[in-house]
């Protein structure tokens, strides 16, 4: 990648411009995410860098964790501000988000893994058509899905219930599980299943003792994708959940629309940390899976 020693000055200029351009794009991708972290520790109720925060030497008066206290529902005197309301809403939302996310993930992972096992079999009939149907929830824009589900679930009294939201989230999350687990199964040696069966293992035992340990990294990655899909989802929740069935994204949406406050940035900071954690986990799992399947790291 480095420039050869015989490069002309023009090539040199191009090369440095290219590197500079890439740096700017990387900055463009990542800077907004990290810009919000310092602002969430501001004293000010506005979402800006205050002069005190930029002063050198740093002014401790300009920094505080009051909005974090506000977020966890601690409404003591130093936390309350006339422009920023304080309530337990964020915590209620967090509990609901995890509740919906975890149930949806468990169901989606179970259904998705089973389906991926079936789809990876050589005898699967109508594979293309079935795959297209199974992946469609990922492809159709969320707003269309939300509209369709709202009309349909209204007929069977599932709107404004957690059940409706969870069913919708499972549908949205399964494509991710199917894709990830199918990808893991591509390198799977089916002879191992035959070996297990010829040694007398029943199908269930074969699955849990032979297949599952080998594709586990794929299943966990799929589950994490499923979880983050449900955890971040706001459009379905907005239409299908009742007003007091809050989740984190719904509360953030309301926050951006009405009461723009630094508390949103505190939650956003927490979510950035969560995404760093999930990304690291998935990356480690992917490497482990490649090692397990004997694929050489690129």
């Amino acid at each position: 990648m480095a420039l050869p020693s015989y490069a002309t000055p023009v090539q040199r200029t191009y090369y440095y411009f290219y590197l500079f351009f890439c740096t700017v794009v990387f900055f463009f991708l990542i800077a907004p995410l990290f810009a919000i972290i310092p602002i969430s520790f501001s004293v000010s109720p506005f979402m800006v860098f205050t002069e005190g925060m930029l002063a050198w030497p740093p002014d401790p008066e300009a920094w505080s964790i009051r909005w974090y206290k506000n977020m966890i529902g601690d409404c003591s005197a130093d936390v309350v501000s006339s422009t920023v309301p304080c309530s337990k809403k964020w915590m209620v939302g967090t509990v609901n988000s995890f509740y919906i996310g975890i149930i949806a993930t468990v169901i989606a992972t179970a259904l998705g893994t089973l389906a991926a096992l079936g789809l990876s079999r050589p005898h699967m009939p109508y594979k293309g058509l079935i795959m297209a149907i199974l992946i469609s929830p990922m492809i159709v824009p969320l707003i269309i899905t939300a509209a369709g589900m709202f009309f349909f679930y209204a007929r069977i009294n599932l709107v404004y219930t957690f059940t409706g939201v969870i069913l919708a989230h499972v549908a949205l999350a399964t494509p991710f599980v199917v894709i990830t687990v199918t990808a893991t199964l591509v390198g799977f040696d089916m002879n191992m299943v035959k070996a297990a069966q010829s040694l007398g293992a029943k199908p269930m035992r074969t699955f849990f003792k032979v297949i599952m340990p080998l594709i586990l990294p794929g299943i966990i990655s799929g589950a994490l994708f499923a979880f983050i899909t449900s955890f971040d989802e706001v459009v379905i929740v907005m239409f299908m959940a009742s007003i007091d069935q809050l989740t984190i994204p719904k509360q953030m949406w309301a926050g951006i629309r009405q009461e723009i406050s630094p508390v949103i940035l505190c939650m956003a900071t927490c979510l950035v940390l969560l995404s760093i954690f999930l990304l690291t986990t998935v990356e480690l799992l992917r490497r482990r899976s490649e090692k397990l399947r004997g694929i050489k790291a690129r």
Binding site: M1, Y14, Y18, V25, F26, F28, L29, I30, P32, A35, I36, M47, V48, F49, L111, G112, L114, A115, G118, R121, H123, M124, P125, M131, A132, I133, L134, S136, P137, I139, V140, P141, I144, A146, A147, G148, F151, F152, Y153, V170, A171, T174, V178, T180, A183, I228, D232, V235, F239, P249, M252, W253, I256, A268, L271, V272, S275, L279, E283, R298
Partner: protein, 425 residues
């Protein structure tokens, strides 16, 4: 090599022909594979495919109003518009009784529908119903229903109101689709443009396409060099830099949207830096959010990973020797890039471009939050009719058109890339 083919049928130990036995095993295997997929397939069909189908049916459904005014509509169909200026007496009579005896809630719903056809229906019928109820209370039977109606309100003698029934008398109607394209039916059932002040959808459709195309182009311009860099760096560095691409991918959409509001608002980070640098004055802060520019910037950043990842996976397998060979044969670097490298990245460009474009036209959250008034896309109208106006027919029609466009592009994507080649992370 000599091959002898035995014509005698092969039998298994049970005496069943081998062919048959194999076919049986094959069938059992197929069934087993299918049974594994079946639970999810059933689940997706019930929770996802059926709702979408239901929505599409709703977009052409006009049966509610027909169940409210069945007799009136039947009589209406007998009206010979060439011969008489106003509908015959029977139409007025049926309407009289259907308004008097109908279920109030159902009539209310039907009135909303009638107002889509011609504004003014709602108040006219409400006033008339009140008068009709009075007449019935008095116990009088009108001699001429037509006269009675016109006496209640002279608009009943205005044939344009009656003409608007034309578009409601069938159980199925394409009116919502025409509405979604700023068209409506006139008196003769011909498709015409809406009134000027009711035309907003074509404008939004065009803006949706414009924004999507711009976002796709920006993503390509920004994503191409980055994908190239990632594909050509040693693995140690590229894996590290990949985090910059994947982290936004994993971060909540709302977090990224919030971050852009913080960056772009009038006293936000970017304006602050520009003022500090002296590029703009403190009063001259640029409005970058709550307009189309905000939508473009935020959507480009949010969709950029979807461009970089397919490009990267294509570029990684292009042998580096190709460029060197081209230059060896005398091509200038620019020529070598244009004639040798670029053509090999076309699959990546089309995959990334289609993916970004398709995701962009269906976008809702980001344009709604940072788009302000003139940056909203078609998704916002769908949400608005779903939640605020409750004009579900129009909402479903807008969704139906959007879905149709998506399917065309995915069909293309499938032709070029293959749906089952989608990879994550």
């Amino acid at each position: 090599m000599e091959v002898t083919i035995s014509t005698a049928e092969l039998l298994t130990t049970d005496g069943i022909p081998l062919k048959q036995s194999l076919r049986k095993a094959e069938r059992r295997n197929k069934l087993r594979a299918f049974l594994l997929v079946f639970p999810l397939l059933l689940f997706i069909v019930v929770t996802f495919v059926m709702p979408i189908g239901d929505m599409l049916l709703r977009s052409v459904d006009d049966s509610q109003i027909n169940s409210v005014f069945p007799n009136t509509f039947d009589e209406y169909k007998n009206w010979d518009k060439g011969a008489d200026e106003l509908p015959p007496e029977e139409v007025y009579k049926s309407l009289f009784f259907e308004l008097a005896n109908g279920d109030k809630r159902q009539i209310g719903k039907a009135l909303t529908r009638m107002n889509y056809a011609k504004s003014g229906w709602k108040s006219l019928i409400k006033k008339t119903t009140r008068e009709i109820k009075k007449i019935i209370k008095k116990g009088e039977e009108p001699i001429s229903y037509k006269e009675t109606f016109i006496k209640i309100n002279k608009l009943w003698g205005d044939p344009t109101y009656w003409y608007s029934f034309n578009q409601m008398v069938n159980d199925r109607s394409s009116i919502y689709y025409w509405n979604a394209l700023d068209r409506t039916f006139d008196e003769d059932g011909e498709v015409v443009l809406q009134d000027e002040k009711r035309r907003m959808y074509v404008k939004t459709w065009l803006r949706t396409f414009k924004v999507s195309i711009y976002v796709t182009i920006f993503c390509l311009i920004l994503g191409f060099p980055v994908a190239h860099l990632l594909a050509n760096l040693p693995l140690r560095y590229s894996n590290l830099l990949m985090i910059f691409v994947l982290l936004p991918f994993w971060t909540s959409l709302l977090v990224r949207t919030t971050a852009w509001i913080v960056m772009l608002q009038q006293n936000g980070v970017i304006n602050g830096i520009l003022v500090w640098l002296g590029v703009i004055t403190d009063d001259g802060r640029i409005q970058m959010v709550y307009n189309e520019a905000g939508t473009l910037i935020a959507m480009t950043q949010i969709l950029l990973p979807f461009m970089i990842l397919p490009l990267y996976s294509v570029m990684r397998v292009i042998p580096k020797s190709h460029m060197r060979a081209a230059q060896n044969l005398g091509a200038k670097p620019a020529m070598a890039f244009w004639r040798v490298y670029l053509p090999q990245t076309i699959p990546g460009i089309s995959a990334g471009g289609l993916l970004v474009f398709v995701l962009a036209i269906g976008y809702f959250i980001t344009p709604e939050l940072v788009g302000g008034k003139d940056g909203k896309l078609i998704g916002s109208w769908i949400a608005y009719h779903l939640k605020t106006t409750l004009n579900w027919g129009l909402c479903a029609a807008l969704g139906g058109i959007l879905l149709g466009i998506m399917l065309i592009f995915y069909w293309l994507y499938n032709k070029i890339v293959g749906i089952d080649n989608i990879k994550l992370g």
